[in-house]
Subunit: 331 residues, 6 copies
C-alpha cells in the first residue's frame, strides 16, 4: 500500500502572462493554481503516493475550481473548507534570458488567512498518515493560520508521524503583528526534517552562523528532534539557464547531489517544492544519498513543466538519476 | 473644437473566461479593464470627444497596464494617481441562451478605495471641461472616495459644468459604515441629469413612488437642479437575446426611443454605460429626442463588442438611428 | 447526507474542431472527454450528489488524463480500471445554422471493450448506493461489456437499488455477433426507469406499437419492474436553434414539461444525458411533475455549455424551472 | 468523369480579426485567402468537380502560401504564375447583431494587377474544360488584366466552353483610366450566363430599366449569347440574421428558389460566390429549378463556415434542398 | 525539368500537446500529419522536386484532410486511396531540457494496414520516376502492406529506378505473425541505398557485426545491389540540445559530415526523414561529400520547424552547408 | 522634470507568424507595430522620458490602431497625421537555431511615403525638446519624406536640440530616383551623434576607410558637428544565440561595453533601436562609459521581449549593468 502524506497551506490562483510577454503586453492569462505545500502534495501524488491537503477557499466558483484542480491532480480534498474571504492570487510574468521572472502577489484577506480551522478533525485528518509537511508561509499569513498549524503539529507529533518543515522566510508576509521569532521556534520544534538556508535560520530560529554547516549543528542543539536539514544550491546564469544541486546534512555529515545544468527552462516556479517532494519520497523509499539524488532530479525535471506542480513519475526521476533516457524521443 | 468631458471612478481589471466556458472549465482569461465611469469616458473618446478620467491604481505593473489601457482608448490620464492598495478585479463568465452571465467581484482594499485624493488639483482638472460624469459606485466604495467626489462636485458646480450622475445603487457595496441616504442626496443635489429607476430613487434619494414618472417629479421637487432623468428598459429573453429602449423625462414629459431587438449578443457588460455616453454626446450635440435615440442606439451597438467599452463612432450610431447600413458587409 | 449514484460505461476522448471550423479546416482540437453514462454522473456530481463511475481506460497517459477528468468533475474513480486496448475517441465538428454537427467515432478495440471486469467487487461498488444508471451503448460494445453489465444489474437489483436504463439504440455498434434482442431484454428487466422512443423499443424490446404511449403500456406488460418511461421531444429548427420538452409516462398517464426555445446553442452534445441526470435528481428529491421540469430545464442549460457535461448547479436549474434569473447578468 | 471548370482572377490574403473584435481591439489575425472567382473554383472542387484557377502571385513565401491554399482545396495550380508586385490583401472585421462587417482592401500594385499573362498557353488551359467563369473584378483591376481576360474569353468561346460572368461592379476599382462601359460589354458578349442586378446592368452594360426582369430582356437583346441571368435577393435583418433567395431568368420566365432564414451567421463573405458555384454545378447536373435550389442552398450553408470558401459537399447541399438532416447531430 | 520521386507509406494524424505541456495538462492538440516516407516526399517537394506519395486513408473527412495536407505540401495525391479502417494517429508530448519527448501510437487497424493495394497501377505510378523510397515501417504493419511493397519494388527495379530503403526497425510493430527476417531481406535486395545502424542490420538483415563499417561490408556481400549505406549519429545532451552528424559508406570508405550543435530545438520529430530527403536530393544533384553535407544540414534545419515535415528550400540548406546567413535576420 | 525626446519616421504594422512556424505554415499572425524611430521613442517612454513621435498613417481603422499603439506605449501622438496611402506592413517569420528570421516588407505607397508634412508646426513640435532622433530610413522612402526631415533638422538645430541619426542604409529602399549620397550628407551634417558601420559610412557619407575608427575620424573631419559615433558588434551563433557589445567613439578614443551572451532569444527585432534608446537615455543622465553600458544592457534585454519595442524600465537595465537580479524570480 502506498505511503500517505498530508500537507497544509494556502493555495493561490496563478495568472500567468502568455509566452514571454510582459505584464504590460499580455491580454490573456493562463490560469492554474499553486501553493508551496500543495505543490509538494501534488508531486507526491504523481509519484503514486496517497496525499491529502488541508486548506480553505472562498465559497464561490473560483474556490470550487481550486478544489477541482487538487482532485484532478490526485490529491484528496476531504479537508478542503469553504470560508469567508478572497481567493488568494498571484500574477506571474515569465522571464527569459537575462530578464528575471516577476511575481505580483495579491493574497491578503484570503479565505485561508481568515479561516480559524476550529472544526478540523485533526485526529481523522492524520489517520494512517506517514508524513506531514508544512512551510513557514502558513504561520506568516495570520494568527489564525499559525494557531491552526500548531494544533496540527501537536497531534501529528503525538501520533508519531514524520514531520518536515520548509522554513521559507518571506519578509513581505508576517503582517499581523507577530515576528517569526515569536512563532516559528515553537513550530520547528516538532520537525524531523527542515529546509532552510542561513537567512531562514537567522530570521526564524535565531541562529547566527558563519556557514550553513555550523548553522545545522546549532539547529540540532536548539531543536533536538531535527534529524535532517537540507537546501538546494542554485546558480542563476539567466532566467533560461540555471545550475542546481541538493545538499543534505544528516546530523553527522553533509551529502551533495550531482550538479545539473538546467538550460532552456520552461517554468522554474515550484522547483523548490519539487525538491522537497522528491526528498520526502526518497526518505520513505530510498537510502540517504539516493534520496538526495532523487530530490534533485525531481527538481530539475520540474523546470521543464509549465505551472507550479511537478507532474513527473517515479520512473522518470529514476531515469534521470541514472542518466537514462535523458532528452530522448520515447516511442 | 471637440467638447471636453471628465469622469471619475474606479477601474477594475476584468478577467473573462474563454468563449462560453464556465468558471470551472476555463484555463485562460481574457484580460481587459472596466469601470462604469471610465466606460463612459472611453465611449465618448471614440465619438471624438476630449476626455479625461480621474482615478487611482496600485503602483505596480498591473496599475501601469490599466493606465496604458486608458491611453490606448484616447482618454487623458494626467489625473491618474498611483496609491497603496490592490488592483480591483472582477471575474466574468459570459452566459448564453437561458444561462445567465456571472460576475465575481474582488475589489475590496483597492488603491482607489484607499486613495484620499487630497492633492488632486480640481481647478486644473476641470479647466475647459463641459461635462462631468460620476456614478453612485464611487461614494459606495469608501469614505475617502465619497469625500473626494463631493469636493469634485462642488468645484465642477461652481465652474458651471454640466453634471450627470448614474445612481447605480449596489447593495453589495456600502460596507464602510455609511448608508446611501447618508451620502447620496448631498451628491445628487449637484446633478443636471440623473440615471436611475425606482429602486435607485428609493435607496439613494428616499423617494417612494408608484411609478417612475411620479418618482421623477418627486426628484425634481427634492433636487431642483435636476433637469433630466433617464433609464433604459431592458427585457432579457435570454442571455443572447434582449430588448431595449431608452426613456427620458425632460421635466415635463417622458420621451421614448425606438425599441431594439438585440439578438446574438456578444457582450452585454457596459451596455448601460454606453447608453449614458450616448446621451451625454446627444445632449452636447443634438435635440432631445435625437439625443435619446442616439443613446439607445449606442447601447445596442455595445452588445456586439467584446469588453466593457463601446468602441463605435458617431457615424455608426447615427447609421443605426436612421436604419442605414445595419448589419451589412461594408467594403 | 447526499444521495449516491453509480454509473458504468465507456468514456471517450472528445476532439472538437475550433469554433465552427469544419474538419478539413481545423488545425487544432479542443480535448475533453465524454460518455453517455459518465455525463450523467458528472451532472449529478454538480448537483451535489455523491457519484462513482465504473469504467476501464488504457494504461498510459491518455487513460490517466481521462481519470483526472472524472476526478476534477467530482466523480469517484475508485472503480476505474486500466486495461489493454485503445483510448476510445470521437471527433466532433460543431455545426451552426442549417449545417449539422458531425461526429466521427473511433472507438473500436478500446480498453473498455476488451475489459472483462471479472475482478470488480460489485458488492463494494454498490455499498450505500441509491441509484444505478446504465445505457444500451455498453452491451452494444462487446460480449465482455454485456456480461459485466449483467452481473452489475443482478447485484444492484438484489440490493434494492433503483435502476435506470437509457436504451439508446445505436445501429453502428452491435458488431460482436449478437443482436440487441439477444441481449437487451434480459438487462431491461432490471430497470425501474427506462429512456427510449419507439425505435429503441422496437429494436431492443421487440415492441411494435403505433405510438409511444401504447409502447409504454406494452413495455410495462413485458417488463413488469418498469415504473417510468421517458423521452425528450426535440425539434431541430437549425443546429443553432432547437425546441425541447420532456415527456414522462408514470404507468398511468403521460406528463409533459414546458417546451423551451433553445436558440444560440453552444454545444448540444450531452443534452440527453443532462436530461436523464436531471430526472434522476428529480426522482430522488422532487415530485413527479417537478422532476420532469427539472430534467428538461437541466437539458436546456446543457446546450449553453461547451463539452459533453452539464456543469450547472441545482439552484441554476431551479431558477430556470421557475423562470427566475433567466439570461441576466448576475453580480 | 467529373466535369472540369476553369476560373481566373485575383486572390487576396484575408486577415480577419479574432471573434467579434473590432480592428482597434484585435492583436491577432486569422489568415486565409479569398477571391470571388477562386471561391467559386474551390466550392466546385468540394462538389467533386475538376477545377483549375489562373492567377498570379508575388514570388515570395506569401505567394507560395496562396498557391498551397489552392492546392489544399483541390484546385489545380498548373496555371498559377509568379510575378512582380505585392500580395493583394484585405482586412476583415466580422460584425454581429446590428453592427456591420467591415472590409479594408489593400490590393493595389498586386502581382495580379501587374501580370500581363502574355505567356499563358490558353489552348492548354482550356483543354477538356466544360465551363469558364470570370467576374467583373478582373477587368476593373488593370488594363493588363482586362486584356488577358479578353484573350481567355475568345479562346474559351472558340472551343465552345460554357461561360459565366459575375458582373460584380465595384466603384472603388476601375482606377486605370477606363470606365466599365469601355471594357465590359465586349467581355459580357461571350457569356452564356451572367450574374447581376440593375446597378451592374446600368454601369457595365448601359442598360436602364425599371425592374430586373425588364433589364434581363434588354440584356438578351443586346447580348444575344446570354441564356440565363441570375441574382440573389438578400435581406439583412442584422449582421447575424439574413434572409436569402435565388432568382433565375431563363430567357422566358423568372424562377424563384425557396427563401431561407439564415440566422446565427458565422461568416457571410463569399455567400454570393457559393451561390454561383452551386448554380454552375446545377447547370451541369440538374434541371433548371433544381439547379436554382441547389445554388441557394449552397449559399445558405456558406454562411455557417469561417473563411471565404464554401466547404460543403453535394450531399450536404442536396439534404438542405430536400429539408433533410438540417441542423442535426449526425453520428 | 525537376527530378521525380515516389514514396509509399502510412501517414498518421499527429496530435501534439500545446507548448511544453504534458499529456495530463493539455486541453488542446495541434493537428498535423506525419509518416516517415511522406515526410521525405514533402521535404523533397520543398526542394522543388516533383513528388508523389502512395497511401490509403479512411473514406471520411479526416482522410480527406490528410490528402489535403499532402496536396498543400506540393505532393501529388493521384495515388492516394480510400479504404476501410481507421485513421492512424499518434499523440506527441514535446519534451524539453532533460525531459524526453513522448509518443503514444494509435495506429492499429488503420486504412493503410487493411489496404491490399491490388488495383494500384504500378506501371503508371512509376512513369518517369527517378527515385523510389520506402521504409521498414510499411512491411511491419501488415501482410497486405508487405505484399504491396514487394510488388512496387519489383516494378521499380525492373524500370531501373533508384531505390532507397530506411530499415527503421520498430519492435512494437511486426504484430501480424511474421518476423522481420521473414520479410525484410527480400525487400532490401532491391535497394541501391539503405539507411540503418547495427540494430537494424541485426534484426532485419541477419547481420552480426562488431561495428557499423564491418556491417556495411557484410551487407554489401549479402545484398550486392547496395551501393550506399548511411546513418546519422545523434547525441542527446537534452531534449533541447543535440549534436548531429551524417555518416555515409560508399562501398569503399566512410565519409563524415560536419558535426552540428543543435540547441534550442523546436521539434525533432522527422529529423531522420529530413536527412534522407536531403541525401536523395544530394545523390540526384551533388557530389558524394556534398550530398552528405546537404543531408545533414537539412536534418539540422528540420529541428527548428514545428511538425514532422522539413519545410526548407535548397538555398537555405546550401547556406547552412556553406555557413552563410546562419541565424541572421534576413530582410 | 523628465527629459523630452522627439522622433520622426514611418511605423509599419508587423504581422508575425505563430511561435516558430514558417510563413507557409502559419494560419494566424500576431499584430503589433514597429518602426526604427518609434521603437526608440517607446523605449525612452518606458524609461520615464517624455516622448513624442511625428508620423503619418492612413485615415482608416488600421491607422487609428497604430496611433492607439503609440499612446498605449506612452508616446505623445499630437503630431500623428492621417494621409492618403496604405498602412505600411511587414511580415515576420521568427527563426530559431540555425534557421534565420525572415522579413517580407510591404511598405510602398504608404501614407507616410506620400505625406508632404507641409503643415507640421515644427516650432511647436520642438518646444521644450531636449533630443531629436531620426534614421536613414526616412529619407530613403520618398522625396517628400526627405524634404520633411530636412526641415525638421533645420529647426531642431536652430533651437539647439541635440540630434542623433541612425544611418541605417537599406539597399532595398531609395527607389525614388535619388541616391543616398544626394541626400544623406546634408542631413547628417546636423547630427551630434551618429550610428553606423563602414557600409553606412561608405554609402551615405562617401567615406572609404579600412577600419571603423579611421572612418570615425574621417566623419568628424567631414561633418564637424558630430561628437559621438557608435555601433553594436553582434555575433550570430544562431538565431537563438548571439553575442553583443556596444562600441562608442567619443572623438578621441573608442570605448567598449561588456560583451553579453544572449541565448534563448525571444525576439531580436528592434535590438538596435533599443541600443540607441539606451544611449540617448545615457547621454542625458550618465557618464560616457556608463551610458554605453546602459545602451548595451538595454539592447540585451530587448531580445527577451516579443515585439519591436523594448519594454523595460531604467532599474531593470541598471540591474543588468551591475549584474544584479539577473535571471532571478523576483517576488
Amino acid at each position: 500500500m502506498s505511503k500517505k502524506i498530508t500537507t497544509i497551506g494556502e493555495i493561490m490562483m496563478r495568472l500567468t502572462t502568455s509566452g514571454h510577454e510582459r505584464f504590460v503586453q499580455s491580454d490573456s492569462y493562463q490560469v492554474t493554481f499553486g501553493g508551496a505545500e500543495a505543490n509538494v502534495a501534488i508531486s507526491l501524488a504523481q509519484f503514486g503516493m496517497s496525499t491529502s491537503h488541508v486548506t480553505a477557499f472562498p465559497d464561490h466558483d473560483l474556490g470550487k475550481k481550486a478544489t477541482a484542480y487538487l482532485r484532478q491532480m490526485r490529491v484528496d480534498t476531504d479537508f478542503v473548507y469553504y470560508y469567508e474571504g478572497r481567493m488568494g492570487l498571484y500574477f506571474l510574468e515569465n522571464g527569459s534570458m537575462q530578464r528575471s521572472s516577476r511575481i505580483i502577489y495579491d493574497r491578503f484577506d484570503s479565505a485561508f488567512s481568515n479561516f480559524d480551522g476550529k472544526d478540523i478533525p485533526w485526529e481523522t485528518v492524520f489517520e494512517g498518515v506517514d508524513w506531514f509537511h508544512w512551510t513557514g508561509i502558513t504561520p506568516a499569513i495570520s494568527q489564525n493560520a499559525a494557531d491552526m498549524l500548531l494544533r496540527a503539529l501537536q497531534i501529528a507529533d503525538k501520533k508519531g508521524i514524520k514531520i518536515s518543515g520548509d522554513i521559507n522566510y518571506r519578509r513581505n508576509l508576517w503582517q499581523y503583528g507577530k515576528s517569526p521569532l515569536d512563532i516559528m521556534p515553537e513550530l520547528i520544534r516538532y520537525c524531523d526534517v527542515i529546509v532552510g538556508d542561513n537567512t531562514d535560520f537567522e530570521n526564524c530560529m535565531d541562529i547566527q552562523a558563519n556557514d550553513w554547516i555550523d548553522a545545522c549543528y546549532q539547529a540540532q542543539k536548539d531543536f533536538p528532534k531535527i534529524k535532517y536539514i537540507t537546501k538546494t544550491k542554485r546558480k542563476s546564469i539567466s532566467a533560461s539557464h540555471n545550475q542546481l544541486k541538493g545538499i543534505l546534512w544528516n546530523g553527522s555529515e553533509v551529502l551533495n547531489s550531482k550538479t545539473y545544468d538546467i538550460t532552456h527552462i520552461v517554468d522554474r516556479v515550484g522547483g523548490g517544492d519539487a525538491y522537497i517532494a522528491g526528498l520526502i519520497y526518497g526518505f520513505l523509499h530510498l537510502e540517504e544519498q539516493e534520496a538526495l539524488e532523487f530530490a534533485t532530479a525531481s527538481s530539475v525535471l520540474k523546470h521543464s513543466i509549465p505551472g507550479d506542480a511537478n507532474l513527473v513519475k517515479v520512473e522518470e526521476v529514476m531515469d534521470l538519476v541514472h542518466d537514462k533516457n535523458v532528452g530522448k524521443l520515447l516511442r
